[in-house]
Symmetry: C2
Subunit: 102 residues, 2 copies
């Protein structure tokens, strides 16, 4: 099971790219990219988009990995994690079918 950091690092190395090169393309400090690849920092959505581009990864798939990572990390220590996920699923379905008026 790969974390988002591992996905990014693996693909970067596969493509033979350096931190320096990728971070320049994404327009971030290479220290940040290094930390992202080791899951020490979280990328923003903008970063994810650019990373997907240069690393030839599917943007949507990467976003899914990102979000699921965040959720998993957030609640993995809860005994009720799985039940909570199920309820969250229902809530999201409900919310999407009952848009909030502003």
């Amino acid at each position: 099971m790969e974390t988002i950091g591992q996905i990014l690092r693996n693909k970067r190395q596969e493509l033979g790219l350096l931190l320096r090169q990728v971070s320049a393309y994404v327009d971030i400090d290479q220290a940040i990219l290094s930390k992202i690849e080791r899951n020490e920092r979280k990328p923003t959505k903008e970063m994810l988009g650019r990373l997907a581009e240069i690393l030839k990864l599917d943007k949507d798939e990467l976003l899914i990995q990102f979000i699921s990572d965040k959720i998993a990390y957030e609640i993995v220590n809860e005994d009720c994690a799985n039940k909570a996920l199920k309820v969250a699923e229902r809530k999201i379905k409900y919310l999407k079918s009952h848009p909030v008026k502003n």
Copy 2:
């Protein structure tokens, strides 16, 4: 579909309790409780436990509502919310069966 705030408020009113009374028991400012009930602030786990006690709610069930609320709110705007939930579920299963060494 009830939010955690609604659950708390409904039960409090059912029991005929005042914000003042419940907040005293939970040992928080009543302004905070008021905001929690309107989902303007999030309770801590300690608060949840005390709230469950005085409101005669199931502690675990309340925690599930709390966590699922947080997740749902976090990702409801993502197109890939459901897919991300599924992946998160797999990740959690994996993480739970492969404990990290410290």
